[in-house]
Amino acid sequence: MLRKRLGSYAAVYQEAFPLIINYSGGNARQAMRLLNAYYFRRTQGKNNHQEAMALACLQVSKDLLSIPYRRFPTDIFTVVKRDKYIEGSLFSDPKISAGSTDAVYHNWLFIQGEPDSATPTQWPAIINPLIDGAIEWQADAPRTLEEEAVRNWAHDHGISPLGLNVPTNDNGEPAWNGLWEKIELSSEEDVLNIVGLLEEIGAGLFGIERQDRIVITYQNREGLDAVRDFLVGEANTYSYFSCNEIILEGGEDSNPVIELLTRLTEPDSGCIYSVEFTGEWTESQLRNLDHRRDLFSDLQMLWWIQQDDLKRYLRFWPQLRQFFRFYRLEDELWRGISTEEIQADINFIKSISDETDPEGVRRLQNVLSYLEGLGSEA
C-alpha cells in the first residue's frame, strides 16, 4: 500500500517504511496519514529522514487522535500494555464498557486478531503506537500529548508552564476534571496564514487524482468567502475545478445531514465541495454525520467551521476526526500574499482558458476586490 501511494518513488523513501509500519500499529489509514505527512516534510519541508519521521508522528498524533482526557481509560491501557490482550468481558461490563468501546472506536487501542481457542476471552491488542509513549513516560521521550496540552493551555492563558499549579477543589485536592475539560477545549490545529495553508493542502487541492478532506476553522466569519475563493481560484491555475458551495445549518428544526446527502447524490470527483457549518448542530446531528464518514472518501472536501463550534463538535466525531485534517486560520491571514501575485494568477488563467468568464478568474477577482477593500480601510 505504501509502495502504491509513492509509485516509482517508493524506492527513494523506503527507509521510512519499517518505521511507518511500526507506528501505524497495523492500521492502514494511520499508515497513509503518516506516509503523507512524512512525504510532505521530505519534499516540501526539506527535512531529513529523522526530522521528517518525528514531525510526521507528531502531526498524525495531533490530527488522528482526539483524546478527551476525562474519559481516557488509562487503567485499561496499562493492563493491555502489560498483557498484550483485552478481556472480552470488558466490553459488556457496564462500569467500564464505555471506556473499552471508546478505546477501540477512537483507535487508541488496536485489536490484533481473534482470541486463541485456549483463551477465548482474551483478544490480542496493542496500544496505538502513537500514544504508547503517553502511557509509560521515559526519560528520553518527547513530551507526551498531555504534557504538551498542559503547556499549550498555560500558554493560551498567559501562564508560564514552569511551576504551573493545578487548580484545587474545596478540600485542597487537584481539580483534575475542570482542568482537563479546559485543556480538551484548547485548540491544537496548525495555525496558518493563507500561504502556509496553501502549502499544506495544495497537493490534494491541485491534484486531480488525490482527494483530501480538510477542515478549516476560523475565529471570525468575515473574509471567509475570500479565503474559499482564493483556494478555488488557485486550484484553477492547475486545472479546471468547479466549486460546489454548500451551507449546512444545524439545529432542532433542520436536517443538515439530509441536506448534505441530497447535495451529494451525484458526487463529482472533479469538484471541490466547500461546506460551511452554521447554526446550532445537535449532538444527534453531529453523531449522524460521523457515521456517514465513507460518503466523503472519494471527494475533495473543504469544510469551514467556526473555531469554538469545532471544539464542541470534535467530541462527537471520532471517525471524522481521523478522516479529516484540521487547520486554523491565523489573524494575520493574508500575510505573505500580494495583490500583484493574485493579478498574475488572473492573467495566467485568462491566457490559458478558452472560456470567456472562467471560474478561476471570477474567484480571484473577488479576492482582489476583498484585499483592495482591506487596503483602503487601512
Binding site: 516509482s8 527513494v12 510532505f40 521530505r42 526539506k46 502549502e199 488557485e234 492547475y238 492573467n347 490559458i352
Partner: protein, 245 residues
C-alpha cells in the same frame, strides 16, 4: 557576428536551396527546417505576457510528468525550483530567448553541481542559421521521422550532454519493478542555447517514474509538432506544449 553578415549567410543558403527547388530536399535540409520551426513556434515566446504564460504553464505541469504531488509555485524569468527526489534545485535567470544562465544545485547542502551561461555576443555554429523555408509539402511522409530525430537531439537525448550522477548528484534508482528509471538516464544538454528549450528538456529528462511515461510523452510531442508543422507552423500554445489541463 553582425546581423548583416548573418543575413548574407542565410541568403546564400536560401539561394542554394532554391536552385534545388524542384528536387527533393535531403534529410539534413529537412531536419534543419524542422529544428528551426520547432524552436520558433514553441520555445520563443515574444512578449513579457507570453514568457510569463509559458513559465506559468511549465511550473503548473512539472508534477504531472514527474509523478509527484503538485505544489504551489509561480515561476518568473528568474527563479529557483526544487527537484526534491534528486535532492536538487534548478536556478535559472532568463534575460532573453538568447541569453540566460542556469545552475543545478544541491538542495539540502547548497553548492553548485553545474553552472552554465549562454552569451549571445559570441556565435556558435547553430546560431549561424535561421530558416525561412517551409517544410517540403511533397515530402510530408518523411515528417514524422524528421520530427522524431530532431526532438531526440533537442530534448530527449542531446548530442552534447552530461549525466547528472557524473557531476556529483546522488544516484537514485526508482522502483524497477514498475518501470522506474535510474538517475543515470538524466542527460543534461550542455550546449542548449535557448532557455525555454533547456527548461523543457529538463522536464523530460527528470521524468524517471517509468520508461513508458517517457515514451508516451515522446510520442505526444512528436504528434503535436507533426500536426503543427502540417498546419503551416502556427505558434504552439504553452498549454498544448506542456499538456496542461
Amino acid at each position: 557576428m553582425s546581423k548583416k553578415k548573418r543575413k548574407a549567410v542565410n541568403k546564400r543558403k536560401r539561394r542554394s536551396m532554391n536552385t534545388k527547388k524542384n528536387q527533393a530536399m535531403s534529410e539534413m535540409e529537412r531536419r534543419v527546417i524542422v529544428w528551426d520551426i520547432i524552436e520558433r513556434i514553441a520555445f520563443q515566446p515574444n512578449s513579457d505576457q507570453e514568457c510569463s504564460t509559458w513559465l506559468g504553464v511549465y511550473a503548473k505541469t512539472l508534477h504531472k510528468l514527474w509523478g509527484v504531488d503538485p505544489v504551489q509555485q509561480h515561476f518568473s524569468s528568474s527563479h529557483i525550483f526544487d527537484i526534491p527526489f534528486l535532492n536538487m534545485q534548478c536556478d535559472y535567470n532568463i534575460e532573453s530567448v538568447e541569453k540566460y544562465s542556469i545552475s543545478l544545485m544541491n538542495l539540502s547542502a547548497g553548492g553548485n553541481y553545474w553552472h552554465c551561461h549562454i552569451d549571445p555576443r559570441y556565435f556558435s555554429y547553430t546560431s549561424l542559421y535561421s530558416s525561412s523555408t517551409h517544410y517540403p509539402h511533397q515530402q510530408l511522409n518523411e515528417l514524422e521521422k524528421d520530427v522524431e530525430t530532431v526532438l531526440d537531439g533537442m530534448l530527449f537525448h542531446p548530442r552534447c550532454h552530461t549525466h547528472i550522477d557524473e557531476i556529483g548528484v546522488q544516484s537514485i534508482q526508482l522502483d524497477p519493478d514498475i518501470g522506474g528509471l535510474s538517475s543515470h538516464e538524466i542527460r543534461i544538454g550542455v550546449g542548449i542555447e535557448n532557455p525555454y528549450v533547456f527548461l523543457f528538456h529538463l522536464r523530460y529528462q527528470c521524468c524517471l517514474v517509468a520508461d513508458p511515461a517517457r515514451q508516451e510523452e515522446k510520442h505526444r510531442l512528436i504528434e503535436l509538432f507533426c500536426n503543427s508543422i502540417k498546419n503551416k507552423g502556427q505558434n504552439m500554445s504553452a498549454r498544448d506544449l506542456c499538456n496542461f489541463g
